[in-house]
Symmetry: C2
Subunit: 274 residues, 2 copies
């Protein structure tokens, strides 16, 4: 599904839907009952510029807006059936609890993929893999300052003494990836680390947040994550931008401004893959 959207829209851009009513344009500002309206306008304005959409569930949950997220998911399927939707939920639990979260993501919301934390290990990932055709992106190396606290520690007890995030990348490319459904989340702040993850996980889709408002360098990001190897290429990179697109204008023209910013970012990313 990623491949189809990438070809049709010629894009590596993912628009992150992190709706914060306090940042909405003036005529919607502060009104949590308009989250759907705001996001739907963004989706309609950018649907032909993206490889994926990524709603962040926390922004809906904080505002008692699960019903609006359900409607938005349905609207995305209607407006852009070829564009996969990654539900950014970073769930991480086991057994029957993980099964409940998988029901939430894939059945209730109809997401095509979900983000997960790998901290609890393989049995916290496995329940999601029972859904054929659905994907799971595991947190691997995140670009926040605290990302170092655990992810950047070297493991004495694993072959080759990888850093923790390298260990996660290997597990996801190898033994955990039973049916080819896994991808990785890798922050854009450190292109050398994206390059390293790509080396360890050549075929996995990489979801890369942190371009745009978070300041990652879009060109360096794509070059680090996307490689042509002879006739083949590596797995896709999916470069997320949220705030820079959502809040490109605080006026009535917010949707048009979002489209302009999305097109600009898409073009930068396309130029980078060359």
């Amino acid at each position: 599904m990623l491949g189809a959207a990438e070809r049709q829209n010629q894009s590596l851009l993912c628009v992150g839907l992190d709706p914060d009513p306090a940042k909405f344009p003036a005529h919607l500002r502060g009104d949590a009952s308009r989250i759907y309206d705001f996001c739907a306008a963004i989706v309609e304005a950018t649907a032909d510029t993206v490889i994926a959409f990524k709603p962040q569930i926390a922004y809906f949950a904080a505002h008692r807006a699960e019903d609006q997220l359900e409607r938005l998911m349905a609207h995305m399927r209607a407006v852009a059936p070829q564009v996969p939707v990654i539900l950014d939920a970073k769930r991480g639990d086991i057994g029957s609890t993980a099964e409940q979260y998988a029901i939430e993501a894939f059945e209730r919301y109809g997401a095509d993929a979900v983000t997960l934390s790998p901290f609890m290990g393989f049995d916290s990932v496995q329940p999601y893999l029972k859904y054929e055709g659905k994907g799971a992106f595991l947190l691997c190396r995140t670009s926040n300052p605290g990302g170092d606290d655990l992810q950047n520690q070297r493991l004495a007890t694993v072959d080759g003494q990888p850093l923790l995030y390298e260990h996660v990348a290997r597990l996801a490319q190898g033994p955990w990836n039973l049916n080819g459904q896994l991808g990785l989340v890798v922050g854009a702040t450190y292109p050398a680390e994206i390059e390293r993850v790509r080396e360890l996980a050549p075929t996995l889709p990489l979801l890369i947040p942190g371009v745009g408002a978070q300041g990652g360098d879009a060109v360096a990001t794509v070059r680090a994550g996307y490689r042509r190897q002879g006739d083949a290429t590596t797995g896709p990179v999916i470069v997320n931008s949220s705030r820079a697109i959502l809040y490109a204008s605080s006026g009535d023209d917010f949707a048009a401004a979002a489209r302009s910013e999305a097109l600009r970012t898409r073009n930068v990313l396309e130029a980078a893959r060359g």
Copy 2:
């Protein structure tokens, strides 16, 4: 708040609220609109036997039952104002997203504490610490088979080469615990590991799932986690049991059966702390 409930109810038992309509007693079975009714009956029957309640949010989210969780949280505050409620959500995200999850847990649902994943590091924990009087339990060592995949790896680059879970325990006892709001989640399957965590984090509350249906040994668990040291004791242990109590009977007497099982478990735990 934990201390007050522990003294008043003389209990280390936490009842986990993981409502699965497929396991409900016959007259409620399969009816997701009765999640509140089922849980409220359990809460009323066990409120004077527990140190805490722990609703697992996945079971509500899978059934579009956030409104029932809101009502249940309010009901717990009304029925048992002295009993803290730990929202088991295992959130793990950063910055403004973590702030949204904190709003969800503490403002929307009014939880007294929340469970978190430490994988993204300190800045994924810090936003919760801004809520005075609220707590956060970090996943440390979980008892599922996959718990070894990351948590049981030895870190070459940290002083003393701790295992990853030991590193988390030290961070939570030390530099991360700005205002004394942190606790740890430690599985009951390996008492030696609870003992090790207690050594590294003498004052932190330990939330210990895995007793009851998951088969951990309640006595060994309490002895490993709860120590009198002269006149003082270590931080509290909070021993969770969910299914063994919730589904103690599949008949109309489910609430009375839950109470019996809760009392039995509480007594076993009390005897163990001696």
